[in-house]
Amino acid sequence: MSDFWKRFSRNRQAVLGLIILCVVIFVAAIANFIFPTDPFLYSKFPLSAPGENGFLLGSDSIGRDVASGIAHGAKTSLLIGLIATLAAVFIGVIFGAFAGYYGGIVDDILMRITEVFQTIPSFVFAILLVAIMKPSIESVVIAITVVSWPAVARLVRGEFLGLKNREFVQACHTLGMSDVRIMLAEILPNCLSPIIVIGSLMVATAILIESGLAFLGLGDPNVMSWGFIISDGRSMLRVAWWICTFPGIAILITVLAINLVGEGLNDALNPRLRERN
């Protein structure tokens, strides 16, 4: 662990990303304390510029606090990104593990399905899914999961293909272990590092997809999110630049931080790759 941390902290960009990410998580965690009122609550000060009327980042067309919206939106983005990624990794690992481990016809069928999902333009598919299921937190998470798992499946399949004929797996077979146990308890732990890396990068993509969906009006109408603020402030672009600008910066910083952490994890978990660079 300390060895891992040493390698991770050698990458200054990754440490910077981690610090930013911690700040974002902290803001999301204390959103209810610093902005205790409902972020949807309007006030009698519409379109206040940043700093005016006590609005740090200004207010929108019906006087909602942009800063409060960003703080509460951080919770939404991070949670959706995390849950959708966990679900996608779960599905992807199952598909990839079975395809790689059993090979043959199982592999053929599972990989054909994966291929179809990879061919479909993912963002258009996500739009379609949310539109059909009606916008809500659940439908957004499902849509992001459905478009994200194929990448994990392909990665895990590759890892399983490489590991399934190794000696330790053959030893497990001789010991009479069940296939499921070999897959889950023996092979899977050996390919955790690439899964962690791809998972961390997927959180960033998930946040981008979520904000894009919310921008198109496909976010949960009852939950504050960054994309929603931007989509709502669009018509006010001419008179109130701040409504769209600040939530976008929040997305940019968060996604950038997660990407940096992901690359840091990649360097720290696969030390051999680093040498080549």
Partner: protein, 328 residues
């Protein structure tokens, strides 16, 4: 067997391989259509304002919606093969016709985006690789990292604030100034003027992607044996970079340009709705608001088919570019 007939066989085999994928997508489309609340008759009744249950029952019979699901699927398949994607009640037009109408603006946007992104991406990646591990390389990396993390719609809105509102350099929306009735070259100029902001916005993300890819590809080629051979022969570093390495490094980048077309379609939905560019993406955005699912499914089907087609074309081009690729 000579090479050209091998390639023909390869292409036809790839075409056949693409068919099950398209078929699977059509079936998926059908089930999504059925998953949605209400059927075409409900939509029709809603449009008409009121309809008696008896009348709706009769309509269902007429459209075959009372038949079992497999029969409906067969009918749907038959219709899709005949390029009949149903009717858009909002636009009062055949979906196929509507899609073809809106296809050209999207094509213009996508082609100009690919040209810009690949062109500049290759240049920036080359620049970074030549100046490896200097501040120039770092600058390019930071630029790529940031653009990679920026939501497209936000870039678009910021462009509008900077270049349309603060400085009146480019129009905020649309594809042409139809009130001016431009013709010929004037019209081309007008469209190009409208095209600038959407193209830059859409290409930024891919620019970052191609920059990183080009840099990595150059570095990989620098490590190959033929570079050592060239050095040993006394070829200048300049010549090694621009004649030997560059040509080989370009290959994977060009291929990736095709693979990314699916993502590009998704991006164009966002960019077109930001700039009101009257293409397929804008049409998808409009159909969301109108809850015109039939139209949305049609666009989805077409864009999936487009991805399959582009991938096929890229594979074939790749065969011609790189004679080492086995076509058997």
């Amino acid at each position: 067997m000579n090479r050209s007939s091998k390639i023909i066989r390869y292409v036809s085999r790839r075409l056949i391989q693409g068919i099950p994928i398209i078929l699977a997508i059509v079936v998926l489309n059908f089930f999504l259509l059925n998953l949605a609340e209400g059927d075409a008759v409900d939509v029709l009744a809603g449009e008409a304002g009121s309809a008696t249950p008896e009348y709706m029952e009769e309509m269902r019979k007429k459209f075959g919606l009372d038949k079992p699901l497999p029969v409906q699927l067969a009918v749907y398949l038959k219709n899709v093969i005949q390029l009949d994607l149903g009717y858009s009640f909002r636009h009062d037009m055949q979906v196929t016709e509507l899609i073809i109408d809106r296809f050209w603006p999207t094509l213009i946007l996508m082609v100009s985006t690919i040209l810009l992104a690949v062109g500049f991406g290759v240049l920036l990646g080359l620049f970074a690789a030549i100046n490896l591990n200097t501040w120039k390389d770092s600058m390019v990396s930071v630029f790529a990292l940031i653009t990679y993390a920026t939501p497209l719609f936000w870039v678009g809105l910021m462009m509008i604030i900077l270049f349309s509102i603060k400085n009146d350099w480019f129009p905020t929306s649309g594809m042409e100034n139809s009130a001016m009735f431009y013709e010929g070259f004037e019209r081309v100029k007008d469209i190009a003027h409208h095209l600038v902001l959407p193209t830059i916005t859409l290409s930024l993300f891919y620019l970052a992607l191609y920059t990183r890819m080009m840099r990595a590809s150059m570095l990989e080629q620098y490590g190959q044996d033929y570079v050592i051979t060239a050095r040993a022969k006394g070829v200048s570093e300049r010549r090694i970079t621009f004649v030997h390495v560059l040509r080989n490094a370009l290959l994977p980048v060009v291929t990736m340009a095709g693979v990314q077309v699916g993502a590009l379609i998704g991006g164009s939905v966002i960019v077109e709705s930001v700039f009101a560019w009257p293409g397929l993406g804008m049409l998808a955005f409009e159909s969301l608001f109108a809850r015109d699912l039939n139209l949305l499914l049609g666009i989805f089907l077409l864009s999936s088919a487009l991805v399959v087609a582009v991938n096929l074309v890229v594979d074939v081009i790749y065969c011609f570019l790189d004679p080492r690729i086995e076509v058997n």
